[in-house]
Symmetry: D2
Subunit: 353 residues, 4 copies
């Protein structure tokens, strides 16, 4: 079985593992105040083009999201997010468990717009009984989204503009940030992202690390006491240097983007192979997740050899499936998949009927 089911099926990039081996018996202080974390912080500050940002290392995405969001909101405030957002769907109510409602906006592709946020904001404040409703307190987006789509520079700028007008901190979930930056359609940089939001995180778990997410806090008022929040929510790793070592390795000489580019290239090969056979796609993704629509027969045929995700039914005969590549995806395995797709013959895809 060749696995394309997710971007966390392997361990860590070889260079990370090597560095962990090499430094294993060194003695460092715990809880993220060691030199590896310090250097990793500097590398990330440099990559963000801003020495003033605070950088903290947490272990996982759900933990990061709940720690950041509950640290920003007051009790009566909620977080605006796409109805497809990870926090809204796949975190077992983690945000609500910290006391906050998610104010969901409809979205087909995983993105939300500046106009949607403006409208929700206006509807809240124009309602004379607004005190009886959860007050919008911040905005959450994912880059790339859970559907592989990405915000363009113009879209993010417009969104942040609305956020700033209304004092709504903008938070970007970058669990797969590298794969967005590596997309051929991307027109953003990490530096620009750090200018167009208030806090975001750079995902390690899905981009080469064993585990770990780097929170970057841009806005000064959000920096205060973040380490308390990390500790309280169980996100301060005792042997914090493990996270420092990983992010140092990923950011000291461009490894992060190197592995991201690799994954995206492989994903686009898979995309192109499906497209060449006339298959259509659920989402227009240029990142490491691809969502072809396949018939039941194709699905069964592919399943005999490959592991991938079933995403949703389109109709009785068709399905959306997800292929996911990563830093660890081997070109030979993609070769094989591409070869097998070519043999599937021309698709009678849903939109072609």
């Amino acid at each position: 079985m060749i696995r394309f089911e997710s971007d966390y099926t392997e361990g860590a990039h070889e260079r990370i593992i090597q560095k962990m081996v090499a430094t294993n018996m060194e003695q460092t202080s715990g809880y993220g105040v060691d030199e590896y974390c310090a250097r990793a912080r500097q590398h990330i500050q440099t990559a963000c083009g801003n020495e003033a940002v605070d950088v903290h290392f947490l272990v996982g995405g759900t933990q990061t999201n709940l720690t950041v969001i509950s640290g920003i909101l007051r009790p009566h405030q909620g977080v605006i997010a796409a109805i497809t957002g990870h926090i809204a769907v796949h975190e077992t109510g983690a945000i609500e468990s910290t006391g906050h409602k998610i104010l969901t906006l409809p979205s087909d592709d995983g993105k939300i717009t500046a106009a949607q946020v403006q409208q929700l904001y206006d509807e809240h404040w124009n309602d004379v009984t607004h005190e009886h409703m959860t007050q919008p307190g911040m905005v959450y987006i994912s880059q790339p989204t859970e559907n592989g789509t990405i915000y363009s520079h113009a879209e993010l700028e417009a969104l942040y503009d609305v956020c700033q007008q209304h004092d709504l901190p903008l938070y970007i979930d970058g669990a797969r940030m590298g794969y967005a930056l590596a997309s051929p359609e991307n027109d953003l940089t990490l530096e620009r992202i750090a200018q167009l939001c208030d806090v975001f995180y750079i995902g390690g778990t899905k981009v080469g690390a064993l585990m770990g997410e780097a929170v970057v806090i841009v806005k000064d008022t959000l920096k205060k006491d973040f380490r308390y929040l990390m500790k309280q929510r169980g996100g301060m790793l005792a042997k914090g240097r493990i996270l420092g070592i990983q992010f140092e390795t990923l950011f000291e000489d461009g490894l992060y983007m190197e592995v991201a580019h690799h994954a995206v290239q492989q994903a686009l090969r898979i995309r192109d192979a499906f497209a060449a056979q006339g298959f259509t796609f659920r989402y227009d993704s240029s990142t490491n997740q691809q969502f072809p629509i396949v018939s039941n027969e194709v699905l069964e045929k592919l399943r005999t050899k490959y592991s991938f995700s079933f995403w949703e039914k389109v109709d009785a005969q068709h399905n959306v499936i997800r292929f996911c590549t990563s830093w660890a995806t081997q070109m030979e395995q993609v070769d094989e998949l591409v070869h097998d797709i070519a043999k599937l013959g021309h698709a009678c895809s849903i939109t072609g009927q």
Copy 2:
């Protein structure tokens, strides 16, 4: 600087690191349902002498404590703990952040007694206005305690007896469980512990692992839906097999106890060295943490070469300090420390004045 400041200053035991390297590019499912986790579970079930216990792997101790405790209690219930308990002191209010009061009992050595729990229980239920007070809902202890002391078989049995009489689940924080089992004064086994409580965890972070704690749920009614709770609290690691690999290595052939015995032996060498010079100790510890009472002068002298924790002031002239050993402590470093202690000359320790 030779570091005895904590038991998490190094990475992981060599055999763990080797296994992580060897398995790095294998593809497994995420979230703890891989084969490494499965085998680690079986080893732990065997070690506990009970195939029916549920075993889950989380990343850290605070995370584990808050997940277990908030999963057991109803909203109006609190957890009974020693006033020195880790949850009461050093977790930034993590338990309270999930909505629950900690009902603290006085303790000088870190332990609580069956009689104390009985009394607190009686006082609550005998009060006619008990509905105006937090209801005791479970009991938390640490083995060994934060002060290095351990519960004897008789003490634990008595405590669990009271807990069972009053339907108070007993939870043992075993962040350093191995070091208790390796104590020369210990008369408990992992099997017996699994019979004398309802849920406990076996600490990995401080006993040879990079990170990771293994929750063992004994009582059937506490097993339901634990994976939801883990996910919600941010404690379900995406690459869960990292935890499985570590606990498999620690439990497949006795490595866990091997490293624990090493650490305790080194700690006792340090203890004996201080004792030989007439120093007294704040706590009667037979585990990997030692708490000698030293004068200001001795403290300063030791500080020039060794790193250790300042624990508390005894009086203007004396201090409690903590030396901590671990699986990683090197005998040569302890040799050196023992040698240096011997050179300190006879202590004018606080109790000798």
Copy 3:
């Protein structure tokens, strides 16, 4: 200005006020253990045809909802509700503030169906990653709904059947329960309601009382420690007898249904007056709230003399408005309104265009 904007614009029914005056200087124990509360409980048990139900008195609806719901759910569970449900819209995220997500179901009329609950339940449990999603833990409905509509006997029976099959406690928010029971279309009784759910509340605030809601707990496992929950959430009134006095008065000889019938009759007179002029309605309500669709001109004309709620825009020219009657609505005021409606002339209502 004649007010039809809500059903809580006046104080309490005259007989309640009289009883409060008559008993004012009596000395009773606090916190709901007085004789007035005891008798009120008995009257409600009798009205429910079940001496075994527990009855508790709280002050307001939001308080009641958050206390009941957070007392039932485990941390990872959510409550299923119509997207229009009061808890989902108008309680400032009170349910989320206790840590729980509301799993909303689409609804146009305010009701949800057995089939919808079944589907949501199936979708959750059929998803292999269900542990990453909030688990459905109970069901919330309102009777009548926030839109004035009511569940029929058959609908409620079907819903409760699904709930029981899946161990989902069914909770009915009866803030306006009397007005449902007084509807000409109603085919339920309080006794039958007490058989077709696990817990519900009988609203006092909107049906003749100064304040107060009577929680009726039918299911045995939900009864435990409810008074602790009330106290913790701030819902245990010190001078609890005030609530007892009110519910005793409302239930000792049928006053509750008497006032409810009065309100519904007045509402139906308003409905009929609008209908007679060809106006249509947003919801098919047979209870004390009526939602006619009126043009901008009609809205402005009515506003000069009457106070009512603006509900929502239909289009640029038309609006939904809400008229609300209560136990306190005076027939003469309805006479006047009916007279004025008749003078509006025939409506060019939205659906008539």
Copy 4:
């Protein structure tokens, strides 16, 4: 049975009841935006000598405490309070249920000192691992305390000085505020209290009202969005005018202090009667609660005719009991009690042995 067990055994002061009767059928807007609330607010602003304070009306004390405190603190912060404070003992963990630890300070008489707060603050910030501990975020005191004692002007000034130095908002629970102001030992005014804290509440429930507490927010940064918080926590009464009517009556012409003085005078008569017989007291109270120490025999004798609270055992032979007076205490009943105390004969009180 003559009841001295609490200060909430009767309904409301006659003038309040009369006003509720007189205004019963008036139509007003709900949720505290009516004219009665507006006038009550103005009266209280005047009484506080500060037109800029925000005034909100909630129903009960626990509700008020949890709403105010959870509205001020960030997630990792706790509230400093006496170990005897109402929030620490008698609110079923309401503060913890909102996510916050109570940082308790020892207290024998119910008060805490500026020095204690300074010390706790210093200990927190001087600890290098302070991020692992709950951060002190505000201070809670009661005036009068739960033991009937009061803060002097100098004590409150010193406390507030420390609070301001360290940016710790000071909150005063004034459930019995009137009785403190009416104490012969009091040297504070409402105006001065409003200058020496950031937020406080003026209790109505125990000082003449049916229910109701008036929150006074002095500090500007704490004013924002308080109505959202009230609604979310279930503390925004639908028929809010009931609270307005009561506080208007209490504050429009001095009724609040009139009833408070009456209660304190009666309490001091009881105190003097016990003292005249040589009884000693557990607390040095000059307010409406008195805590004489009596032998088992005296306790039993008094119990045959009077209802009062058992407070605590002193030793096998002696007990602390509590007598409570209120706005409603009748002089004739105190006459009778005083007469009966005189007949008890001279006490062999605990301290006289």
